[in-house]
């Protein structure tokens, strides 16, 4: 199939970008969206033009590097898929596809479609870990955890940190990401020691990075490629407010 792409092109983080129309010809249905861009880039390179710059790594939906807002939808029109797992059969011959980078003050555009997502890394560094002294390997079942809790923590832990939730939110809020990262520890015994400190530190960093507030529109949940639920956001609110209102002394804040 042949497609018309309207792609955001921007030289670097200092310049202002604009949309450029590029033809994508002879695209097969079974190509992934990123393979389609590879073909377009081969063409551009052959013509001596600058290829379209976009983020990707694993191309199997697990690393969270790929992004792209495709016709207004982060990771494209399908539910529960990353852009690398989106196939061209979801489009039709002659279609115009508008491709934009994630838009958020906290995610500045580096070049073309790639944005700087280190704001997420800094939130993680603020509290998204558990301090443990290493030693002998602990016995696998030394700490009993009900399966229901283990499953819920696991579901929160599947967040791949792609940032589609921020891209989808009208306020560019990072609540879904932060709530997933706080939840995976808040639910498990290993996370209890730093439970309330963590919630406060990560929320503070989230605010400092310039993400918006949560209006509970649910756009993040609808666009999240791994299905992180809004219940995580309720839990983050609970963790943080509990920390602030009832546990302030415990955490020396």
């Amino acid at each position: 199939m042949n497609l018309t792409l309207k792609v955001w092109r921007q030289k670097n983080d200092k310049s202002t970008g604009q949309f450029v129309t590029i033809q994508a010809n002879n695209i097969a249905d079974d190509m992934s969206f990123l393979e389609m861009l590879d073909i377009v880039n081969d063409d551009l390179t052959r013509k001596g033009e600058d290829p379209i710059y976009f983020d990707h790594d694993c191309r199997e939906g697990i690393c969270g590097m790929c992004s792209l807002v495709i016709n207004g939808r982060p990771h494209g029109p399908n539910q529960g898929t990353t852009t690398c797992q989106l196939h061209m059969r979801s489009f039709h011959d002659g279609q115009t596809i508008v491709i934009e980078p994630w838009r958020a003050a906290a995610f500045p555009v580096l070049k073309d479609l790639a944005v700087d997502r280190t704001a997420f890394d800094r939130i993680q560094q603020a509290g998204g870990y558990v301090n443990v002294n290493t030693g002998g390997v602990p016995d696998a079942n030394a700490i009993p955890i009900p399966k229901r809790i283990a499953d819920e923590a696991f579901e929160s832990a599947t967040c791949i940190g792609c940032g589609a939730c921020v891209a989808a939110c009208k306020n560019a809020s990072a609540m879904l990401f932060v709530s997933a990262k706080v939840s995976q520890f808040a639910l498990l015994p290993q996370g209890q020691t730093e439970r309330y400190e963590r919630a406060q530190a990560m929320v503070d960093q989230m605010d400092a990075e310039g993400f918006g507030n949560c209006t509970n529109t649910g756009a993040c949940e609808a666009e999240c490629p791994v299905g992180i639920k809004l219940t995580n956001i309720a839990r983050l609110n609970r963790e943080y407010l509990t920390a602030k209102i009832f546990r302030q002394e415990d955490v020396h804040a």
């Binding site: 809020s173 507030n213 949560c214 609808a222 309720a234 609970r238």
Partner: protein, 261 residues
């Protein structure tokens, strides 16, 4: 992990907490306000309604609550502005294409616009009744009820008599006399204006959509999403605050408008 954290109300979650608590307080007021105002539908020349209006404006605990209420409206609107400003700044360059209703409901994305309509309505509403009742020219009415039979005679005038100083209730020869400001007549009079009726009806539609999202959103914001009760909270938000209450309020101006035709 750093153990120095920012104060609650400087954080985004703290500001949302204020939004949700003031919002829920306003919701609780709507219920009380509606129950009181249902007396407008009584066919008693405003006897029950005028007594209720007097009670609401003169009973001390209710006065305290009413100041809390004015404060809540202001705080809710100010924080709406603060949050919206921050939200706009979080996305300086918008999208060329938008997902629209594909990933969220339109009312959840337009809480600020819906709220602004409600705010305009509230200003008009306060001027129409609260200001007129307290400081403006309100008509006057005297009810003379025979206690034994319940037969009632009324004397009304468009102006307050010079001697009027608050509601007077006394009994004489088995006749109960109530002299009061006639807010009921003021209501009936105000709702002869089709533009005011229209504004009230539109504002109630805006309130409905504001609360269909807002009521359940406030529970999510305070972190209440217990699986056993959240279904109930969501139904109350939709049916009580999104349907019953706005329709009942909107029925009042419509009732007086069509009654007066």
């Amino acid at each position: 992990m750093s153990s120095k954290s920012k104060p609650l109300f400087s954080s985004s979650l703290g500001k949302k907490l204020i939004m949700s608590l003031t919002g829920l307080f306003l919701c609780s007021f709507l219920v009380i306000h509606l129950i009181g105002n249902l007396q407008l539908f009584k066919n008693d020349e405003g006897y029950a309604f005028n007594n209720y209006a007097y009670f609401m404006t003169h009973f001390a605990p209710i006065k305290v609550v009413s100041y809390l209420l004015y404060a809540s409206i202001i705080i809710h609107a100010v924080y709406a502005l603060i949050l919206t400003t921050k939200n706009k700044a979080a996305r300086p360059i918008g999208y060329n294409q938008s997902a629209g209703n594909e990933n969220s409901k339109w009312n959840s994305r337009n809480m600020g616009i819906l709220g602004t309509i409600i705010l305009v309505f509230l200003a008009t509403h306060m001027q129409n009744f609260w200001y007129q009742y307290k400081f403006g020219t309100t008509p006057y009415i005297e009810y003379n009820t025979e206690v034994a039979t319940g037969n009632r005679q009324t004397i009304s005038s468009d102006e307050l008599p010079a001697t009027y100083d608050g509601v007077k209730i006394f009994e004489n020869n088995g006749v109960e006399t109530v002299q009061t400001k006639d807010l009921y007549k003021q209501v009936a009079y105000t709702f002869q204006n089709p533009f005011i009726v229209l504004l009230y009806v539109v504002a109630m539609a805006a309130l409905a959509f504001h609360l269909i999202h807002g009521f359940q959103s406030a529970f999510q914001t305070i972190g209440f999403n217990h699986r056993r009760y959240i279904g109930f909270v969501k139904s109350v938000g939709i049916w009580v605050f999104g349907v019953i209450i706005p329709i009942a309020f909107a029925a009042m101006p419509l009732y007086f408008f069509f009654k007066g035709l």
